[in-house]
Symmetry: C2
Subunit: 278 residues, 2 copies
């Protein structure tokens, strides 16, 4: 089954920021063999809003073509802190908290994603038995300077703001997830590019085929100014009441309507073009 | 038993580069309670020469005052590489290699150090069961910038030479050794100062009294130019034949004779002063 140019465009261009390496990904897609799609989630933040849905819809499109999703519950990386620049490690979530948050996340997640072509795994399956030798095996493969090139690290380092040594482990652990599940394609926001690329490198170093990196665009929030985020209160949660969703969406400045339709609906291209003109 | 000013001088000044914190160490010494003296050794380099003996004699003096030596066989740090700036991790020594090198080291070591007041432990006793959570617990306490201040790291970083992320773990593991054995005093060359200070900090963070750091001077080699080192072939090994030792010592430029006597013998001060004058 070969995808038509239109289909290919819909999958690999619409609502996509970048694919690394696009030509390789298209080739894999056209070969038609089931691909292992990797997505990780932070169980300390179990809420899904429309900003996340952009990527989940992409996963769903690929599932509908027969590909398999592996969703990783990041119960280990969650305690290190997210890669967006907040420092300091957090206490490890208890097993109960992780399970509760995962439940809540999955209930929202499967509103968009196909449950039948999805497998849920926990990082603790591999990191729970990780030894010091395993850590040394990972940390020996990359240099401090390489990692300090990540945008947010570079910025904090230059500004003399602290970066805990643990934070250098974050991209390594996320990369090792790709090895553990033999990921073919990893999904993340554009701010995840560095981590996804470390996954590519580590897989190659460890004798696997390097994953493709599928980078999703950042959705602007309903304020029309900042990225959609729960903490900025400019978000539309997937479990909100329809009336609330409608009200919030109506508050979005008109100029962003087209991108919302482009990223979040199946409205055909011609319709988007009509909207742009009007 | 309080030490006389002369005795105190002999122990804490003669053949000593620095003690951090000297006043605290002197106080502990005068209290007379048995102290736990920590020394680590790299089992990938089992040869002892006079450069090492400077420190071993100091250990012996303290043993003779009733203090207890804990010698740590660094079977884990050995694979990361030593802190003098050589990069890249090394393969883990096999258990047989470690045991063989340790045997050879101890045979030389106990020519100077008192076997009856010494205990030999292996890092694998604690690092063999170290988990990823333990690693995160250590790495979360220090920042990348703090560690890049270590002289050799700072130099390599500035010169764009690679520093493996693993190398940041080295000072942490060495510091954790101090916690594991509840060290009161750690011994090392002046080039070890950073690592020894991390040990102090970590002990305090983990609720122990911070160890004292006993920094030994670097002995010049028989060429009178560079530090004594096996690789520079300017060394006198402790197991060499007396004639060979004599020959090598005779080749030392005269100006260094006094410091050899000061660091490596019990020749009284008055004798050293006579030598200096002649």
């Amino acid at each position: 089954m070969t995808l038509s140019p239109d289909e290919l465009w819909r999958i690999t261009q619409r609502g996509v920021s970048n694919i690394i390496v696009r030509e390789e990904f298209v080739k894999l897609l056209q070969e038609g063999k089931p691909l292992r799609l990797k997505m990780g989630f932070d169980p300390s933040r179990p809420d899904i809003h429309l900003g996340h849905v952009v990527g989940l819809r992409k996963l769903r499109q690929l599932q509908d073509l027969g590909h398999q999703l592996i969703l990783i519950v990041g119960d280990w990386t969650a305690q290190i802190g997210d890669p967006s620049g907040r420092s300091a490690t957090r206490p490890m979530l208890t097993h109960e908290e992780v399970m509760e948050n995962a439940q809540s996340y999955l209930r929202q997640f499967f509103k968009v994603v196909d449950r039948d072509r999805a497998q849920v795994v926990y990082q603790s399956e591999w990191f729970g038995k990780f030894s010091l030798a395993d850590v040394i095996g990972l940390t020996g493969r990359f240099t401090v300077a390489q990692f300090l090139e990540r945008d947010d690290f570079a910025k904090r380092f230059a500004e003399h703001r602290p970066i805990a040594i643990t934070e250098l482990l974050y991209p390594l652990l996320q990369a090792y997830d790709s090895v553990a599940i033999q990921s073919d394609v990893e999904f993340g926001g554009t701010d995840q590019m560095f981590n996804l690329l470390v996954g590519r490198e580590l897989q190659e170093m460890m004798g696997q085929r390097a994953q493709q990196c599928f980078l999703m665009p950042i959705l602007v929030g309903t304020d029309g100014v900042q990225k959609m985020s729960k903490s900025l209160d400019n978000y539309v949660g997937v479990e909100e009441a329809p009336d609330d969703m409608f009200g919030k969406i109506m508050s979005l400045p008109d100029e962003f309507i087209v991108s919302y339709f482009e990223y979040l609906t199946d409205a055909p291209e011609t319709e988007l073009e009509d909207m742009s003109r009007s």
